[in-house]
C-alpha cells in the first residue's frame, strides 16, 4: 500500500519479542470492549455500567467466579478439542454435536451400568463412555477426510444439527431410555448417584456451581500438552501440520494421523458433555444445549493460539463473559446476553488481525515515483 510517497509493507520478524505474546491478546480484548461499547451506546445502554456489572457478576464476586469456573469446565474441553484439531489444520467445528453425544453416551452409562460399580470406577467409566460417543460422532467426517479428502469443515458442522435433533428426539419426541419415566414433563432420566460428584464449596458453607470436574479438565489439558510436546505422536502431528509432504516422505502415516487427531478431538468434546452428566445436570438436559459451548470452544482455542495450557485461561475468561452476560440480561436495565457473543467474535477477529503483527513488523519505506 502506498500512502503519500511512502510504501507501508510487512516484513517478517526473525525474532518475536516476548511481550508481544501478551500485548496482542490484551489489546484485542480492549478494542473488542470498545466495539461492544459502541453497540451498547447505540441501543441505549450505559457501557461503563454494563462492563462494571459484567466484571462483578462474572469474575470478582464469590458467586461470580465460582459460576464462571463451573461454566468454564466444559468450555475447557471444547476449547482443547478445537485446539487439538485446529493446530493440525483439521477444522473440526462439530464440537457442539460431539458434546451432545458425549452427554447422551455418558448418561447411558450412568443409568445402565454404573449402579453396580463403586464410585472410583464408575466415574471414569462414565467419562470414557462420553469420550467414545464423542469420537463416534466425528468418525464419519474423520474417515471421509482421511480416506477421500472430503472437507471436514462442512461435514462436522452439519452433524451438529443432526445431534441437536437427536437430543430433542430422546427427550421430547419419544418416551425412551433417556427420558424420566416418573413424570409426564419432558426431562432426562437422572443417572445413578454413584456417578455424580458434588459441587465444591471452597471451604465455605455456600453451595457453588463449580464441580470437581474442573480439575479433570485441567489434568486433561496438561496431559494433552505433554502428548504434543513430549511424545512421538505429538512430534509427528507437528511435522504433519507444518508440511504434509515432509511427513509423508519421512514415512509417517498421513491417514492414521488425520483420522486419529479428529477422533481424539471428538473424544475430548465428548468428555465435556460427560462432565455435565457427572456434575450439574445429572441427565441429558436439552436446556443446557442452547448456550453454544462448541462454537465458543473454537474462539477459546483460537485466542489461546492452540496452546492447551492457555486454553484454560481463555476458557475462564469467556466463561465469565457468559456468566456476566446472563446477569446483565436479568438486571434492571436488561442488556441482551448476545453482547457476550458479540464480544467473543470481536476478540477473535482482532486477535486474528493482531497475529500478523506478532510475526511481522510494519515498515514504512520511501519510494521514488518514477
Amino acid at each position: 500500500m502506498i500512502v503519500a510517497g511512502r510504501r507501508i509493507q510487512l516484513e517478517a520478524r526473525l525474532v518475536t519479542p516476548k511481550w508481544l505474546a501478551f500485548v496482542v491478546p490484551v489489546l484485542s480484548i480492549v478494542v473488542a470492549l470498545v466495539i461492544g461499547a459502541v453497540f451498547l451506546l447505540a441501543t441505549g445502554h450505559a457501557p461503563l455500567r454494563a462492563y462494571a456489572d459484567l466484571l462483578d457478576n462474572g469474575y470478582t464476586s464469590f458467586y461470580g467466579i465460582t459460576d464462571t469456573l463451573g461454566l468454564a469446565t466444559p468450555l475447557i474441553c471444547t476449547g482443547l478439542a478445537a485446539a487439538f484439531a485446529f493446530r493440525m489444520n483439521l477444522y473440526n467445528i462439530g464440537e457442539e454435536g460431539q458434546l451432545y453425544l458425549g452427554m447422551i453416551g455418558s448418561a447411558w452409562a450412568g443409568i445402565a451400568l454404573a449402579g453396580a460399580l463403586p464410585k472410583v470406577v464408575a466415574i471414569p467409566v462414565v467419562l470414557v463412555a462420553g469420550a467414545c460417543s464423542g469420537a463416534l460422532w466425528v468418525a464419519v467426517p474423520a474417515f471421509l477426510r482421511a480416506r477421500l479428502g472430503t472437507s471436514e469443515i462442512v461435514s462436522t458442522l452439519l452433524l451438529n444439527y443432526v445431534a441437536l435433533n437427536l437430543v430433542n428426539y430422546f427427550i421430547f419426541g419419544s418416551r425412551g431410555f433417556f427420558r424420566d419415566p416418573t413424570t409426564s414433563f419432558p426431562q432426562g432420566r437422572t443417572v445413578e448417584p454413584s456417578v455424580r460428584l458434588g459441587a465444591l464449596s471452597f471451604f465455605t458453607d455456600k453451595r457453588t456451581n463449580t464441580y470437581p470436574t474442573l480439575f479433570i479438565a485441567i489434568l486433561l489439558a496438561a496431559a494433552l500438552y505433554w502428548l504434543i510436546k513430549r511424545s512421538n505422536y505429538g512430534y509427528e502431528t507437528a511435522v504433519f501440520a507444518d508440511s504434509p509432504s515432509t511427513a509423508r516422505y519421512a514415512g509417517m502415516n498421513a491417514m492414521w494421523l488425520q483420522s486419529s487427531v479428529l477422533l481424539v478431538s471428538g473424544a475430548i468434546a465428548g468428555v465435556g458433555g460427560a462432565m455435565y452428566v457427572i456434575g450439574p445436570a445429572g441427565k441429558v438436559d436439552p436446556g443446557l444445549l442452547q448456550i453454544g459451548m462448541g462454537y465458543a470452544g473454537i474462539v477459546v482455542a483460537a485466542l489461546a493460539r492452540y496452546n492447551f495450557l492457555a486454553v484454560i485461561l481463555t476458557a475462564i475468561l469467556f466463561g465469565g463473559l457468559r456468566v456476566g452476560g446472563a446477569a446483565l440480561q436479568a438486571s434492571s436495565d436488561p442488556v441482551p446476553i448476545a453482547i457476550a457473543v458479540v464480544l467473543q467474535g470481536s476478540v477473535l477477529l482482532l486477535a486474528l488481525g493482531g497475529e500478523i503483527f506478532r510475526r511481522n513488523r510494519l515498515r514504512v519505506v520511501k519510494v521514488s515515483v518514477s
Partner: protein, 312 residues
C-alpha cells in the same frame, strides 16, 4: 396427502432455493478469487436483522434491502482485510464472522424479537400463466427477486466463463502468481469479489426475512441455511448455473419436514424428519468426494492460500 400440498412444497422449495442460490453465488464469487468465506451463516443473519430493523422503523422495503447490502459490504471488507491484506487464516476468520454475525444479529434483534415482519414482498402477477396446472403455481407464483436471482445466476455465469475479467478472476483462484505477472492486482481482485460476494449473502438474508420469515426470531431465522449454501458451492462445482439445480434439490429437502408437519403426516417423529436436510447435504458431499467426482469438480486450485509476492 393431497396434491395441493405437494404443489405447495415444490413452490416453497423454489422459494427457499432463492436464498440458497443468492448465498452460494456470493460464495462462488468469493471462492473463485481464491478466498474462502465461511461466514455465510453470520452474513445471512446480519442481512436479515439489519433489513428487518430498517423496515421496522421506516417501512421502506428498498431502503431495508439497500442497508442489508451495505452491511454485507462492511462485513466482507473486514474479512478481506484480515485474509487478503493481513494474510490471516481464512477458515478461522470465516468462523469468527459466523460468531460475530450471529451474536450481533441476536443482540440487535432482541428488542424486536417475535414482532411480525413490517413489509412483505408481493408475488408477481403473471395473469393467466399462473393458472396452468402444476407449472403455474410452481414456476409463476413467486416474487420479483426470485426471478431476478435466476437472472443474476445467468449473468454471473456469463461473466465467469465468457468475459475477460471473468477469466482473470478464475485465474486468480487457480494461479495468482500468473495473474500478478500479467500485471493485474491480485489484492484488488480478491477484495472486489469478496465484497461483492458478501453483499449477495446479506441480500440473501434480507430477502429471506421478508419473503419467508414470519417474524424475526433469532433461533429459527436461518437455521443452518448458510452452511448448506457452502455445501451447495461444492455441489455446483463453482459454477453459477449449476447452483440453481442444487438449490432446488436442497430447498426441497429443507421444505419436506415442514410439509409433513403441516399435513400432520407422521411417518417418523418430527425430530428425526428435521435431520433430513442436513443428512441429505452430507450424503451429497460424500458422493462428491469419490475420486472420480473430484476430478470433474474443479475447485479453484489456490483456494484458501494467501498470495504473497516476495515468497513466490
Amino acid at each position: 396427502m393431497n396434491a395441493n400440498a405437494w404443489l405447495l412444497t415444490f413452490s416453497d422449495a423454489i422459494s427457499i432455493a432463492t436464498t440458497l442460490i443468492l448465498a452460494s453465488l456470493g460464495a462462488i464469487l468469493t471462492e473463485r478469487s481464491g478466498v474462502i468465506n465461511l461466514g455465510v451463516e453470520g452474513m445471512l443473519l446480519m442481512g436479515a436483522v439489519s433489513g428487518f430493523l430498517v423496515a421496522n422503523s421506516t417501512g421502506n422495503l428498498w431502503l431495508a434491502l439497500f442497508v442489508a447490502v451495505l452491511v454485507g459490504v462492511v462485513l466482507a471488507t473486514v474479512h478481506a482485510a484480515l485474509t487478503v491484506s493481513l494474510r490471516s487464516n481464512q477458515i478461522v476468520s470465516g468462523l469468527a464472522m459466523v460468531i460475530f454475525g450471529t451474536g450481533l444479529a441476536n443482540f440487535l434483534g432482541k428488542p424486536v424479537e417475535g414482532r411480525p415482519r413490517p413489509v412483505v414482498i408481493l408475488d408477481v402477477d403473471f395473469g393467466p400463466l399462473s393458472d396452468i396446472p402444476f407449472i403455474g403455481p410452481v414456476v409463476f407464483g413467486h416474487d420479483v427477486f426470485t426471478y431476478l436471482t435466476w437472472v443474476i445466476a445467468a449473468i454471473l455465469s456469463f461473466y465467469l466463463h465468457r468475459t475477460r475479467p471473468g477469466l482473470v478472476l478464475r485465474a486468480t483462484g487457480d494461479a495468482p502468481a500468473t495473474v500478478d505477472a500479467q500485471g493485474a492486482s491480485v489484492t484488488r481482485i480478491r477484495y472486489a469479489h469478496t465484497i461483492a460476494g458478501g453483499a449477495l449473502m446479506c441480500f440473501a438474508g434480507a430477502w429471506f426475512m421478508f419473503a419467508r420469515g414470519v417474524a424475526w426470531n433469532q433461533a429459527a431465522t436461518t437455521n443452518g441455511i448458510g452452511w448448506i449454501a457452502l455445501a451447495l458451492v461444492v455441489f455446483a462445482s463453482w459454477r453459477p448455473l449449476r447452483a440453481i439445480i442444487g438449490a432446488v434439490l436442497f430447498g426441497f429437502s429443507l421444505q419436506v419436514p415442514f410439509t409433513l408437519q403441516s399435513q400432520q403426516i407422521r411417518i417418523l417423529p418430527p425430530e428425526i424428519v428435521a435431520m433430513f436436510p442436513y443428512v441429505v447435504t452430507l450424503a451429497v458431499l460424500v458422493a462428491l468426494s469419490t475420486p472420480r467426482a473430484r476430478r470433474l469438480l474443479g475447485a479453484p486450485k489456490m483456494l484458501g492460500q494467501p498470495f504473497v509476492r516476495d515468497e513466490r
